[in-house]
């Protein structure tokens, strides 16, 4: 009878049968409540800025990786059984190799399109990691990690770190000479851990290196454990993006209380949906023309063989740099060995990444700001943060150079020893220089903005005054520009509260409070930012007594 009622009401509404799509939607709504969901989201507003698509590149390459990865599992054999190769790649015929390696050869030479899918998978992984790196920089330098988005920053951070390890376990699977060397390096690094190193190594490899287990274990980690966690994080990341609504840059009509842009349906459905195809298409073409990881040229892994110029995928390059630039310190004491030369890089690897995760919390402690922030900072308007970020990126890049010191040496005909010394010195000096230079640039740009607001835009038109003086005509900014250039906020350095309270009782100033005042001074103190023009200054200059 309820069906009757439904039909009746439908008929009374539409005078006839509703279109099929509508009936399916009604059916789904009755069971899933999709209309309430759609009401909030179908016409959700997304602001437009080129940098907002960086995250989309990551999402889409992640989807591409999953699609192509599933295909690859249909043909790949995660086994270290030694077999003699008798496939269609002639140069390796008769060679002993693991089943993992021979099945990768099979995918590359005998499965039609297998090589393409393998190359799409690998290229998409490189792009995924690069996309996340740049996306994180965008979020960092515009202050988009501030409240309420700190947790989403952590989600993104975890995706980046897990992405690195998923990539590493993935490119180790073919068991070729290059990746096996990388696995050996990892095992050597694990061995350096005090007390537990040998145990972890034995447990991870099922005995001594290389053993017969690691490909199968890396396979399970690579296709199940890590991507499972990452999928959850991606979904959580997206839910939070929807829930928090997107950030936007300051501009006319845009405030911390609204979000200005175009609706999901239809504009972003088409743009973002279309962008998935653009990303996939570009990666498809790259995979068609640019060879990646030609494992047949490297041959199967043998622990006693190696090729020169061995390099990990780019996102592991900074770990490679850390391990290469470190002096070989080893301390032997009480019958034990502390392998500092390897263990310190291992710790630094964690510390360098952990700093990224913690930064939002450090900054919010320094500013003491507990409000929501939806308006993005222009990097110049947060000079200290920007300088810190550039310093971190500089350190990362120096490590990348260090990780490829042999390639720099052979390609530029330099001494590898001098490159290593350069990296050792600039591991510290590079970030310091970058910090100072970046801060100067930011302050310069802030000064220029201030000048533009107060004195207008330089038109390039030179006018000669009757008494012979040449002046350049400055054109006042539009209301939109005036607003945009002055919309950012500026913090005062946090002062240490009075040491004596209202009743004249002395209170103890805690060390933590002093520390924060000091850091806050370094962030927002005198000369650390250029005060933005005030309305009074502007009025004084424009009231006619001004210069121009």
């Amino acid at each position: 009878m309820s069906t009757n009622e439904n039909t009746e009401s439908n008929e009374s509404r539409d005078r006839g049968k509703a279109p099929a799509g509508e009936r399916i939607a009604d059916w789904a709504d009755g069971r899933l409540g999709i209309y309430s969901l759609a009401k909030a989201n179908m016409r959700k507003i997304f602001p437009d800025h080129w940098s907002f698509m960086l995250g989309e590149i990551c999402l889409y390459s992640f989807i591409i990786i999953i699609l192509t990865g599933v295909y690859l599992t249909l043909f790949f054999h995660p086994s270290m059984n030694e077999v003699e190769y008798h496939g269609s790649y002639v140069p390796l015929q008769g060679q002993l190799m693991s089943e993992a390696f021979s099945s990768t050869l099979h995918i590359s030479f005998d499965v039609r399109g297998g090589l393409l899918i393998r190359q799409i998978h690998h290229w998409a992984a490189l792009i995924f990691l690069a996309g996340m790196f740049v996306h994180m920089m965008r979020v960092f330098f515009t202050g988009a990690f501030r409240k309420p988005r700190e947790i989403n920053w952590l989600f993104g951070f975890l995706l980046f770190v897990l992405g690195m390890f998923t990539g590493f376990t993935g490119y180790s699977l073919p068991d070729d000479l290059l990746s096996g060397t990388g696995v050996r390096f990892t095992q050597g690094a694990i061995l350096s851990m005090p007390i537990v190193g040998t145990y972890i190594s034995m447990f991870l490899f099922g005995g001594e290196f290389p053993g017969h287990d690691f490909v199968a274990r890396f396979y399970s980690i690579h296709i199940l454990l890590l991507p499972g966690i990452m999928l959850g994080l991606v979904v959580g990341h997206l839910i939070l993006v929807f829930y928090h609504k997107h950030t936007q840059f300051a501009g006319p009509g845009k405030s911390n209380k609204n979000v200005v842009g175009m609706p999901l349906l239809p504009v972003y459905m088409a743009k973002a949906g279309g962008f998935f195809f653009l990303v996939f298409g570009v990666i498809g073409v790259i995979a068609g023309i640019a060879q990646i990881n030609p494992i047949w040229a490297m041959g199967p892994y043998r622990p006693d063989q190696v090729s020169t110029g061995a390099q990990p995928d780019w996102y592991m390059g900074f770990a490679e740099g850390l391990i290469r630039f470190m002096p070989g310190w080893e301390i032997n004491i009480w019958g034990h060995t502390l392998v500092l030369g390897v263990f310190i890089p291992l710790v630094l690897f964690g510390v360098l990444l952990a700093i990224l995760a913690l930064y939002p919390f450090i900054e919010s402690w320094v500013t003491g700001d507990k409000r929501e922030h939806h308006i993005l900072d222009r990097p110049r308007n947060a000079p200290t943060r920007t300088a810190l970020g550039v310093a971190w990126v500089t350190m990362y890049m120096i490590m990348l150079v260090g990780g490829g010191n042999d390639l720099w040496a052979t390609h530029l005909h330099l001494s590898i020893n001098s490159i290593t010394w350069f990296v050792r010195i600039f591991f510290i000096a590079g970030p310091v220089i970058a910090y100072v230079v970046t801060k100067r640039i930011c302050l310069g740009l802030q000064r220029r903005d201030r000048d533009k607001v107060l004195h207008g835009r330089e038109t390039g038109t030179i006018k000669r005054l009757p008494h012979g003086e040449f002046i350049e005509i400055h054109e006042p900014l539009s209301q939109e520009q005036l607003h945009t250039l002055t919309a950012h906020e500026q913090y005062e350095p946090a002062a240490i509260g009075a040491a004596v309270d209202d009743n004249g009782v002395e209170r103890k100033v805690k060390g933590k409070e002093k520390l924060r005042a000091k850091i806050s001074g370094a962030y927002f103190g005198e000369d650390q930012q250029i005060p933005k023009p005030t309305a009074e200054e502007y009025k004084e200059i424009t009231s006619g007594h001004g210069h121009h």
Binding site: T198, M202, V279, G328
Partner: protein
């Protein structure tokens, strides 16, 4: 929280409020006031139907191209043999099948995207609208209600009052994951002294890795680098990889008076010295030999060892010298080991000592 003692006035004014949140034109009070959203500017497609038609045709053209590319993909899959190679300027020789499939698939996907984006940019409404934001944190009433509900629930559970239940429950929940940890025990054996021993033993012949023949002193020329394995270890052996990972040997011949280290000289045979091939940094095989200086270099991280001076580290991140194998010659004139390595080969570890 320490930050709560920051007085409000130390924080900058609320964004948007700094200049008065009300949208308005510049006035005497505030020359920087927000003028509000700029008026919408029409695109050519909004006012000229012919331009809109052109856009429509462009989008349709892109979608059609995609269909053709998919047909091309299937045709290439069927028609091109997997082993055919073609020359493409300036990239070089490529697998024809991979090249064709990549281009057609890429085109089929890219043109869908390009069509959709062009459609969105030229034909869909580009009027900017504003959505209100709402505070993420719940209003005080909701907060109070949730706290009260939670207290009520906690009270009804009696968890705080019945300590015995609480403590035993925490105990049980803490212990139960231990089963999972215990189950990991069989992931691998204990290290014991596995890393201290290799296949080398007294009397084992040094077998040339390339020829699979036992080496005589005359086979090792000055300036050459020879790789060797212990007699009896064959590629087809089950444990070949594990054993060669520790036993791999490199052999060079020096002039005995060029050997600076006394122990090295004692452990050599007529200037022939045998060192572990496995780098003491993180275990790469060392494979680069500089004949004039007798330096060997690990290609992975560039640790450099001086083979004429006990293989001590002269550059790079390795922490200690390469272990040397004591060698001699047996009655039949073949090179043989006089024992195992005296110290563990490969990377250092905690128990190495």
């Amino acid at each position: 929280m320490s930050s709560q003692d920051i007085p409000e006035e130390n924080l900058p004014a609320e964004q948007g409020h700094a200049h008065g949140s009300a949208v308005g034109v510049a006035d005497e009070q505030n020359p920087f006031a927000d003028p509000g959203l700029p008026p919408h500017e029409h695109r050519i497609q909004d006012i000229d139907e012919r331009a809109a038609k052109r856009s429509e045709r462009a989008v349709a053209f892109l979608f059609t191209l995609s269909m053709l590319a998919t047909v091309g993909f299937i045709a290439s899959y069927v028609a091109i043999p997997a082993d055919k190679s073609i020359f493409v300027f300036p990239i070089g020789h490529l697998s024809a099948l991979n090249f064709a499939l990549g281009l057609t698939l890429g085109t089929a996907l890219f043109t869908i995207g390009a069509g959709a984006v062009h459609w969105a940019r030229t034909l869909m409404s580009d009027v900017e609208v504003a959505d209100e934001r709402h505070a993420i944190a719940a209003p005080p009433e909701v907060r109070a209600k949730v706290h009260a509900d939670f207290k009520q629930g906690a009270k009804e559970s009696g968890l705080g009052r019945r300590k015995l239940i609480r403590n035993t429950m925490f105990g049980a929940l803490t212990l139960v994951p231990l089963s999972g940890v215990v189950l990991l025990r069989d992931l691998g054996p204990l290290p014991e002294d596995k890393l201290r021993h290799t296949l080398w033993a007294k009397g084992k012949l040094l077998v040339n890795m390339n020829t699979n023949e036992p080496l005589r002193p005359s086979d090792v020329a000055v300036g050459s680098l020879t790789f060797a394995k212990p007699e009896g270890l064959e590629e087809h052996d089950e444990e070949f990889q594990n054993e060669i990972a520790k036993a791999a040997l490199m052999i060079v011949r020096l002039q005995p008076d060029n050997i600076k280290d006394k122990q090295e000289l004692d452990w050599s045979y007529q200037g022939i010295v045998a060192y572990s091939k496995i780098c003491t940094h993180v275990g790469c095989p060392i494979s680069l030999y500089e004949q004039q200086t007798h330096h060997v270099l690990c290609p992975c991280h560039q640790s450099t060892f001086d083979l004429s001076d006990g293989a001590r580290v002269i550059f790079g991140p390795a922490g200690h010298a390469l272990p040397q194998l004591r060698i001699g010659v047996n009655d039949e004139g073949y090179l043989e080991a006089l024992g195992d390595f005296e110290e563990p080969v490969g990377p250092a570890f905690w128990e190495r000592g």
